[in-house]
Subunit: 320 residues, 2 copies
């Protein structure tokens, strides 16, 4: 089975279109890598790239990216609102299909070792790839940023996982990690009452006693005239969408508020939808068709999960 | 408003009935304290006492209890399956009504200071009353038990919060703390399938990604011929009963399993029931009667929360 990962490298240039496109163009020659999109933020002066492809090919493509970024960006001349410690600041691998988290960790270790060997750029392993408790959190590693890292990296406790205890003079250092797929999910509540919508967010989010892998808050959508519970699902296996959707509907019943629809922001893996559709199929006593097509998944997600503005090109597997 | 607390001291004698009754009898003369029950366990060689009453009176009653236990129990001659570090091993205060958690913490500090001053028994503050992160967990403090505490208490990091760095030669030391009320709650599932019932427990419990203050597991009731999701609710304000009940019903729908009833083990504060009844009243569009009687609360809890074997003497306020 082909090992498919998503990779979301962030590089420190969000203003100079020519440079951005030169960097992005590096992925064109990699046939087994699909560029899903890239978003340049001028305030942040940073660009977020979303790639999907075979894990081996991803390692090769990233090495090419490091080379071109090294030629294009000098962090000594960089300023922006987003914290950064490298010209490519962070490279996370996310398992999509045919690959486990632990295999992803192996791949990013190979990648980090090559980056430090070939380009002399130190790498810190973070998230699931962290080798120490205090390196799980990327902001913890990044504290002090490019400027402070010159000294920080010399401290015994901040020795990089790969490379010398000396930053690359123009590139800095990179955070290389592996993490689960994060689903950005919003549930529409037909009310203007942001406080009550906030109470639904509190019911489900970890920080208020709710589900462990949910970050959530209320938001009022000016153009639509109603509120949403807006959230990140950090682990869709342990906190499946249907459970969140049904719990919010249950809470909203208290105030007789309608919950007519929901939306996925960005991409979602097929598996995250199937896990939830299976719940509704079982409730309706229908056998789940194991050969279900992506188009059928879309239709059923609209029906059961009430997803609006949804289409096949929001499902990661569509690009494979 | 009268400040009412529950207190659940555990003492290290569960076999000698005469001694146990002598110790328990100390509460008779305290008019503002109600002895709810006591359960002696012969394997544990330990007795759990449940008291309810005014916070000031509780402090006085506990000091009397310490004195009588000091005369009756010598830990040098004690063995049992339950870990223990004191003749009274633990004294937790639980806010019930008219008192905040922070006031409870003040009361237990007063109590611990008096115990160490008057009886020369060192006290460690735990749970909400802990003065250090690593003392929040009682088992952490108790590690090594009575026998090991002789040396452990001399270590700088295990200096007791009150008293000298030397255990009482026959009594040992006491863990004195404050915590939230713990609701022991079980939901009946009409199936013999413990695995599926286990999947409902996983959906709601903290350790598997569920609600923050829920500990839960499946159990098969031989005499009833069906399973239960059995659980502790560690914070009924943040994880109200109705939310847990409705989430389990939602999960059970998947397998078309009936969820006909639930039960409270031991006591429950009125507030925990009212918080959940209010949800169902709102769903049914009925105004909640603020002057609701305990008997009416029982009837409505049977109706909405499907509580079986429930009666007013399971509600703490019945004893006040």
């Amino acid at each position: 089975m082909t090992k498919i990962v998503e990779c979301v490298p962030n590089f420190s240039e969000g203003r100079d279109k020519e440079k951005i496109e030169k960097i992005i163009s590096v992925f064109e020659k990699h046939e087994k890598i699909k560029l899903i999109n890239y978003e340049a933020d001028t305030d942040y002066n940073r660009t977020v790239v979303t790639l999907i492809g075979e894990a081996d090919a991803m390692v090769v493509a990233l090495l090419d990216m490091v080379e071109i970024v090294m030629n294009e960006i000098d962090l000594n001349n960089h300023s922006g609102e987003h914290a950064r410690m490298g010209a490519i600041d962070v490279i996370p691998f996310i398992p999509i299909s045919g690959i486990t988290m632990s295999e992803c960790v192996t791949y990013v270790n190979v990648l980090a070792e090559k980056i430090s060997d070939i380009y002399n750029i130190p790498c810190f392993m973070y998230a699931e790839a962290a080798k120490e408790e205090k390196r799980i959190s990327l902001p913890n590693i990044r504290k002090g940023e490019f400027e402070g890292m010159k000294e920080k990296i010399k401290l015994p406790e901040w020795k990089p996982d790969y490379g010398k205890q000396e930053i690359h003079p123009t590139f800095g250092v990179i955070g290389v990690g592996a993490r689960d797929f994060l689903v950005a999910y919003n549930i529409d509540i037909l009310t203007t009452d942001e406080k009550k919508t906030g109470s639904f967010a509190k019911a489900i989010r970890q920080s208020s006693g709710g589900f462990q892998y949910i970050q959530a808050g209320p938001v009022f959508l000016e153009n639509k005239g109603h509120t949403q519970v807006t959230m990140n699902i950090l682990n869709f296996k342990k906190n499946p969408i249907y459970r969140i959707f049904e719990t919010v509907k249950m809470e909203a019943k208290r105030y007789h508020m309608e919950v007519p629809s929901a939306e996925i922001v960005g991409l979602i893996p097929k598996d995250a939808l199937i896990r939830s559709l299976k719940y509704y199929y079982s409730v309706d006593d229908i056998e789940f068709p194991e050969d279900i097509t992506l188009h059928e998944i879309v239709r059923m997600s609209e029906r059961y999960l009430k997803l609006r503005d949804f289409s096949v090109d929001k499902i990661i597997e569509y690009f494979l």
